[in-house]
Amino acid sequence: MGILDEKFLPPDDMPEFHRPFWEALKAHRLEAQECENGHLRFIPTEICPRCGSQDWTWRRLSGRGSIYTFTVVHRAPTPAYQADAPYVVAHVELEEGIRVIGNVTGCEPGAVHIGMPVEVAFEDVSERWTLYSFTPREAA
């Protein structure tokens, strides 16, 4: 199976401490590390960049946020992604104050704008992996 044949999946050789994030996604929960001093971070890192703590727990996130920035991809990396083009890749600022990257679905790409309220959605892309995306939501 070459790089051009199918959409990418998370790498099997990820560090062990990343796995709880993916296990939570499998259970349709978006989680991030929270260090003993209450600092949230994403993506997983082995040390808190704010305080140096190497201890953490996984905290469930609200999944609600707004679009910080985005692009509409017209030329995709591979034919498998090109079939979906044009599609939106957004950086979403979550209510908890951290940013995550994901697709925005459930609306026309042309309707997406910075500041747009979104919420997380989950897609089981294989027996093993679940990815998250975002869909528009009504502002609170």
């Binding site: 990418f8 999946l9 692009t71 509409v72 017209h74 030329r75 990396p77 697709n103 910075i114 990815l131």
Partner: protein
């Protein structure tokens, strides 16, 4: 004869091969071609080379792991110095600092900084364009590529945010491409120069790749090779303007965009302020610059990062042909990654062009009486930076 004492080093030689499609040549053949070209440009011999920044020619076994040892086999004698610098596409150019320090501390006499993309290749140097783009997409930080990001998309989100935050326009982005294409038309080895001048309307009418970046906002994908030679001044006989590095800095800012509070501000000022601080000169004294330009937004943000304008003012700064050879701040005068070449460690070609400008050998592209130059090389999506101030004696 090696000399074990402290002395001055200069940027003594530069050379670039044909740029474009080098798939018919082997990377090894092109490596030695470009090294010999740069050594000859310095007025030196291959037998003078005793240092290397970067890789040995591609090969089997330990060539990749022990490049200095590999070079000893190939040059038929021990090498005295090898090092790597890691600033992405500007890695080779960023080696100018360590290369000069090695010589000034008596570690080596003549250091080469080669970069090569040739042959059939694989991965993101593949001659197969589709495979190359797919592999480049995976240069993103872990997991973001699961959502179908590309290198263009990685920069498009920055452009979008810059527009939102500061009012930067697509027309301003296009001005960068237009100014640089003009330079490329005056460079005999540029890939896009032969296609002629472009206008702002041409850029805006070109195919959208990742909004707001069009095809003509994007760098080209091509092969080619370049090499720089740094040498102890007392080893040089040829009478020609001596080009010195008078300031240098690096900044390694972030890896994952989620960790950066503001996706328009990338800590490149740390590298730039260090370089200008060491040089003891101001930005307003600089005659010509090179800035890594994977996309048009990179030049606008890069000018801000390097302190040539305030954060957010890069858009208005580039209006009215300011970056043209005859403009207020001539920038990427050979055409840059957008229009000259984006081969291998392409920051090398920005440094080569600065050297040509400061020597006064840039021909039709010559910036009048250029004495002081600045290069701001970027690795990844503004993730790592290096800065250097160059001066002609």
């Amino acid at each position: 004869m090696a000399s074990f004492r402290r002395r001055k080093a200069v940027i003594a030689g530069v050379h670039m091969t044909e740029q474009g499609d080098l798939s018919g040549a082997s990377p090894q053949q092109v490596y030695w071609q470009v090294v010999k070209g740069a050594v000859a440009d310095a007025g030196l011999q291959l037998s003078d080379v005793d240092g290397l920044i970067g890789p040995a020619p591609e090969g089997l076994g330990l060539r990749g792991t022990l490049p200095g040892a590999a070079m000893a086999d190939l040059l038929g004698r021990p090498l005295r110095f090898q090092a790597y610098t890691s600033v992405g596409a500007a890695s080779t150019a960023a080696g100018i600092g360590p290369g000069i320090w090695a010589i000034e501390n008596g570690v080596a006499d003549v250091v080469i900084l080669p970069t090569v993309s040739a042959g059939k290749g694989s991965g993101y140097t593949s001659a197969d364009r589709g495979a190359a783009i797919a592999h480049m997409a995976k240069l993103g930080t872990p997991y973001e590529w699961l959502w179908g990001t590309t290198r263009v998309a990685d920069h498009a989100v920055i452009a979008q945010r810059h527009m939102h935050q500061y009012g930067t326009t697509s027309e301003q982005l296009a001005e960068v491409a237009v100014a640089q294409r003009h330079g490329a038309t005056l460079h005999p080895l540029s890939v896009m120069g032969r296609k002629g001048e472009i206008t702002v309307d041409d850029v805006l009418a070109s195919r959208m790749v990742a909004e707001p970046l069009h095809l003509l906002d994007s760098c080209i994908v091509n092969q080619g090779a370049g090499c720089i030679v740094v040498a102890a001044e007392d080893r040089l006989e040829r009478a020609r303007p001596r080009i010195r590095m008078i300031g240098y800095g690096q900044s390694h800012a972030y890896l994952d965009p989620n960790h950066l509070p503001d996706l328009t501000t990338f800590h490149g000022d740390v590298a730039s302020d260090t370089a200008f601080g060491v040089a003891g000169i101001g930005r307003d004294e600089i005659d010509v610059i090179s800035i890594s330009d994977h996309f048009t937004i990179n030049v606008i943000v890069g000018l801000e990062e390097a302190g040539f304008c305030k954060k957010g003012e890069g858009g208005p700064f580039v209006e009215g042909g300011a970056l043209r050879i005859d403009g207020r701040l001539p920038t990427n005068t050979a055409g840059g990654y957008l229009s000259c070449t984006h081969a291998a460690n392409s920051g090398t070609f920005g440094l080569i062009e600065l050297v040509e400008q400061l020597r006064g050998s840039a021909g039709a592209r010559q910036v009048t009486d250029a004495k002081l130059g600045y290069i701001h090389g970027v690795g990844g999506v503004f993730q790592s930076h290096f800065a250097a101030v160059l001066a002609r004696d």
